[in-house]
């Protein structure tokens, strides 16, 4: 792709150290970083909390197949969609890492201010899942390959393959067995029994099937591989959604005469611009 003469002029202007053009662009960059930071926290966090939130909120729910299976699948939607504009428009293979970082910040603020300070649950019960390693690997594959298909296969699967191992160091102690009322339960179960959650299934009734439990065993592996397969497909689908959203165009403004433009005025310039 070759640059036009005004674009070459602009490039030279904004790369001149200390120039007004450089300052304008730098200030714009900083504002955009702020916008993306808050918007991504909001969008990614609401997406995760309402699709896999229950398994993310409570430590005893983290011993379920659904946590290992569904969380990576849902983690990949927004990072994959944002990978398109970040990489294709700005040359930045950072969408996965940025999304994961924003998510963990949003989750921790909520867990501290909401779950801990308002409803008094201990941190040991409400820590959020660790998503950064898998999404960083996804970015790494995109950076090295610069190819959406390769990234969906290796980067998409990496999100799922890294999920359980990344969480294992913090989760393992909660799987230790303890005897509670003559029954063997895990430490996580015991914490769950101790802090009442009046509307959750365990409190109302026991509804889960035994096969949903993993105990960190082979069902974790099986769930991980199934999740990796789905993540490969999902990365590509959401990359395409990101492409579509980034390239959305414009429609005529019927009210433009009210701000000084004539109805007949040729708006080819605006069409090209946006």
């Amino acid at each position: 792709m070759s640059l036009t003469a005004p674009e070459k002029k602009l490039l030279k202007a904004i790369t001149t150290k200390g120039s007004a053009a450089a300052k304008i662009v730098r200030q714009l960059d900083l504002i955009v970083v702020g916008i993306l930071f808050f918007a991504i926290i909001a969008a990614f966090h609401i997406h995760i909390m309402l699709t896999v939130g229950d398994w993310d909120f409570w430590v005893d729910w983290k011993d379920r197949k659904n946590w290992v299976t569904l969380t990576p699948m849902l983690l990949i939607f927004i990072p994959a969609a944002l990978s398109y504009p970040f990489m294709q428009r700005f040359g930045l293979p950072i969408a996965g890492t940025l999304c994961a970082l924003c998510l963990v910040i949003g989750e921790w603020v909520s867990r501290i201010v909401g779950f801990h300070m308002w409803t008094y649950f201990p941190y040991s019960m409400i820590w959020p899942s660790i998503a950064i390693p898998g999404l960083m690997l996804m970015d790494l594959v995109l950076m090295l390959s610069r190819n959406a298909l390769v990234t969906s296969i290796f980067g998409g699967s990496a999100v799922a393959l890294a999920f359980a191992p990344a969480n294992w160091p913090i989760l393992a102690p909660y799987h230790l067995p303890v005897v509670h009322i003559d029954q063997v339960v895990s430490v996580a179960d015991l914490i769950g029994y101790s802090f009442t959650r009046t509307a959750t299934p365990e409190y109302l009734r026991i509804i889960e099937r035994g096969t949903l439990r993993t105990f960190g065993g082979e069902s974790t592996l099986i769930s991980t591989f199934f999740s990796a397969f789905v993540c490969m497909v999902l990365f590509f689908i959401w990359w395409k959604i990101g492409e579509w959203v980034t390239n959305l165009g414009t429609v005529p403004n019927r009210f433009k005469s009210m701000v000084g433009y004539s109805e007949e005025e040729d708006d080819e310039d605006a069409k090209e611009t946006v």
Binding site: T16, L36, F38, P85, V245, P252, G260
Partner: protein, 258 residues
């Protein structure tokens, strides 16, 4: 705080570059004050007066807040949107590139305030809704959690979003000549979270779905939350416009020429 650069213009007749970030920081401070006060009120009044919707104290301490919020928000929405429309630039075709850049960057800085407001609705207040409803109580549609999430945090970003939209189509040529679809999605998508509350409340009352926060009933919020992805398209359009008009106001050394 204002970031001011003086003496950047190559000629004395050219006004130096001046970025006024005061409105952005002021907007964020106002939001912190509003949402911080609301969070403090929850801490103070939720456990003592917010556990039973049939209690007269609930009416005094919570329903009063709800009605006040609705009155203030509807008023502010009408005032802001009307103000930006009535004071619109009626000669946008005569706007100089320099003024367009100034307005565009000012508008982008206010987009940061919009994103900040959306954070409180989509993250901060949304997830604490889970902890209150799943572990304490959700007896009606109006709870100490909902009264600030649905009826304060959401309307606040909707007011800011529609004000920004009106500013954009009345003051920025790039959005006035033709309506940007990413801009529409960025504003209207999150706005749709509020009507989704209607379905959410109806569904909760009909199916009593408190056991899981991840129930399909909640996925309407997820779907409309995705629309913020259109920010990528919006930023793409803004960058393209900047590339087009900046060469008209700077020389090769980066000095302002107009």
């Amino acid at each position: 705080m204002a970031a001011t650069q003086e003496g950047l213009a190559s000629s004395k007749s050219v006004e130096g570059w001046k970025l006024n970030l005061k409105p952005m920081f002021l907007g964020m401070l106002v939001l912190i004050a509003i949402f911080g006060t609301a969070r403090w009120y929850q801490q103070w009044a939720a456990w003592d007066y917010g556990l039973d919707a049939t209690d007269p104290m609930f009416d005094t301490y919570w329903m009063t807040v709800l009605w006040a919020e609705i009155i203030v928000e509807v008023t502010l929405f009408i005032v802001f949107v009307t103000y930006f429309w009535v004071t619109r630039d009626k000669h946008l075709n005569e706007l100089t590139p320099r003024k367009e850049i100034n307005r565009m960057i000012h508008w982008i800085s206010m987009l940061a305030v919009y994103a900040f407001a959306f954070y409180f609705a989509g993250s901060f207040y949304a997830e604490q809704d889970a902890t209150w409803h799943q572990t304490v109580v959700r007896d009606t549609s109006f709870t100490p959690s909902h009264i600030f999430l649905f009826y304060m945090a959401m309307p606040v970003f909707i007011i800011i979003g529609f004000s920004l939209f009106t500013y954009a189509i009345t003051r920025l040529p790039v959005f006035a000549k033709r309506i940007s679809l990413p801009l529409v999605l960025t504003v209207c998508g999150p706005f749709m979270l509020l009507p989704t509350v209607g379905y959410n409340e109806w569904g909760h009352a009909f199916w009593l779905m408190e056991e899981y926060f991840t129930v399909p009933l909640h996925w309407g919020f997820v779907f409309f939350g995705w629309s913020i992805l259109a920010l990528a398209g919006l930023l793409n359009q803004l960058v393209k416009r900047m590339i087009l008009i900046m060469p008209l106001v700077v020389d090769e050394q980066g000095n302002l020429t107009s």
